[in-house]
């Protein structure tokens, strides 16, 4: 993954994952697989895992442990009310940023 993409994802991955989790509880592996299918092909599973640890600590998701046949129990993450609020703020911020950047690009032409 390009350096620029890595840097930009740092600020947006949380919003992307919260958006994916809306109405769609999922565990880490599913989230990484979905991200890969969306073109983020080289995203590290560990990066997604660290993000999930963070949003759990920050109380944006509820976590349910489900036993699995192989390996440790799977944690299923679902968006809670605080997470929904956080996601709304993310979209507002993103909208502002996207609009400013688009203006910059068209003014420059």
């Amino acid at each position: 993954m390009g350096k620029q993409m890595t840097e930009m994802l740092k600020g947006t991955l949380e919003g992307i994952v919260l958006a994916f989790l809306t109405g769609n509880p999922a565990y880490g592996y599913e989230i990484t697989a979905w991200l890969r299918s969306q073109g983020f092909t080289e995203i590290a599973e560990g990066t997604v895992y660290a993000l999930l640890v963070r949003i759990e600590k920050n109380g944006l998701v509820d976590v349910e442990k489900r036993p699995s046949e192989k390996g440790p129990p799977r944690k299923v993450y679902s968006l809670n009310a605080d997470g929904e609020k956080h996601l709304e703020e993310f979209w507002t911020t993103w909208g502002f940023l996207a609009e400013r950047l688009e203006n910059l690009r068209t003014e420059g032409k």
Binding site: A44, G46, T47, R54, G71
Partner: protein, 132 residues
Amino acid sequence: MSIRSMLETVVGELGLKKRWRQLKARKQQLPESHRKAHDAVERYLMYAAGIADGAILTAMAEDLLELFEQGAADGTPVSAIVGDDPVEFAEEFARNYSEGAWIKKERARLNEAIENITHGDLDKLDHRKEES
């Protein structure tokens, strides 16, 4: 120190020791590639994360092991777990445990020092500029 808090200290430490023993045993169950990668990241974290709190250090080690156990169970290769920039991944991972880092005190001290300047009478450079 009251007997109760003494008890809590000892039991707390015993609890941590037990968790470390369990971690060590679980680590041995990992396939070789995952175990080696896990150990390399863990070694880096012990230095780089600068965690001074035993409970937080243990929680970090448990989370890291769970990541590699999960990866091994799903058949995810090491390269897909840590990505193409292992240091970047490790730093990102460590940030979740920064409340246990020794540097926390210095971070608070820096914030406080600046806060004292900006909220006190010291930060008057801007006003002087306007007047002149």
